[in-house]
Symmetry: C2
Amino acid sequence: MITTKSITNLKKLVKKVKKTGKTIGFVPTMGALHEGHLSLIDRAKKESNYLIVSIFINPLQFSPSEDFKRYPRNIKIDKKTLKEKKVNLLFYPQTDKIYNPDFSTFVEETKLSKKLCGKSRPGHFKGVTTVITKLFNIINPDLSYFGQKDYQQALIIKKIVRDLNFAVKIKIAPTIREKDGLALSSRNLYLSQKERKESKSIYQALLQAKQMIKNNEKNPKKIINQINKIMVSNSTASIDYIAIRDANNLEEIKEIKGKVFIGIAAYFDSLNGEAAGKTRLIDNIIVES
Amino acid sequence: MITTKSITNLKKLVKKVKKTGKTIGFVPTMGALHEGHLSLIDRAKKESNYLIVSIFINPLQFSPSEDFKRYPRNIKIDKKTLKEKKVNLLFYPQTDKIYNPDFSTFVEETKLSKKLCGKSRPGHFKGVTTVITKLFNIINPDLSYFGQKDYQQALIIKKIVRDLNFAVKIKIAPTIREKDGLALSSRNLYLSQKERKESKSIYQALLQAKQMIKNNEKNPKKIINQINKIMVSNSTASIDYIAIRDANNLEEIKEIKGKVFIGIAAYFDSLNGEAAGKTRLIDNIIVES
């Protein structure tokens, strides 16, 4: 595996690979790799013949009050993992090489990115779309992989690719879960033992919502109420949102119909019991009604 | 010359050309081609071996009160001109193919674009940088050419290329002028005979400013006053701005030093005498002091 921190060097390497006609797969990550990332890598390996992974904790997508500083960093272990996975190239840039001191250009999606997580984390998706634009321009991949756990992010990436005519094809891969159903996330490391136990209620609530739809419940409000009940009675988490939306555009719906997104965002915080606490977890399922 | 309206088709053509290893030069235009555009095309032909010109009047860079509707359209003549110039490919897309009805992604430079023309035309540069990002992603040129007349625009394009890591190299070509000094612009067509005569005062004022600097004038305010005097006494134009700035970043300067930008923007309007009238002309020179 080649490892490079240099944008210039990476561009040169990519140019060489492109000349051989190989299909470049790209998995952007913030490191602290878990089975969720590895499933993206496995899929990318199958569908491309040169695999690039980036590790970059993007400060632009964290607000000042968020967890940029304590976000888990395990570069040594990550490198070992990626080598074992036979990734071809690891791009591991320094922050000040991605953002020059006078950096002043931003890419913003203005509809999808204002909903759900975008409401709770203003500027977050603008940070994501800006860094992804940069990475796409540097790497020029044929395929790029995103996890369904961050469904809204994946939809937004698809949207900027379409709106700005990027040549890359975006693939969304299924959420990987712990045995008890908790969606894998680097942020799960923040949870106390008690919170970790409680956190499985998120997926349990999603499954119950799915069951309600299978049982022909058509009223999103009733389902949201039920999710809320499960969350409240099984965890100390404070809920950011529980949402049932059109899975294509995350627009609100009055009736369950077609492909439906069911999403939950909740804050866990055993440290000091503040409402908007330290660990924000999200999860979702897509249900065809 | 190949002419295509189709993005998909253009992408295919570009892919073929790329495979031959040719250097792609790209001149984006809004049509109504004049000697200014042709000088960009001549330069691009020299420095590349496959030349693409686009003609697209970008609605996103006009505010509702501006001249989008009456902007000159001469596609037949333009095509003939480009053929004679032996341009390889003309990209002439339809508006609704560039902007889908649900288009929602924008590229914005946030420092340079807030100054000078950006102040008078809010949203203008955001429209420019968004469409240029799209064109760069579609065409993937090695070189792209912009005129010095739109100096601020050219600087902003250079900035987004650097900030977002586009692979293209930006070239700025000298302003082409009428015999009396008026900078060529498609908007010159809007001028009445009287205004056309008066409009030469813009360049005359710029030349006098240059002379003052050569004569060792160090105070920007004195030079600006002199430009203002010339403009007021030789034309009915209402002045939008007269600016002397650091040519690298368009920051204000207290003393003439190094490479200096001297710019003028003025409105001409013989139709009804309104202050913020119909024809906005800009011009500039760069002076090394």
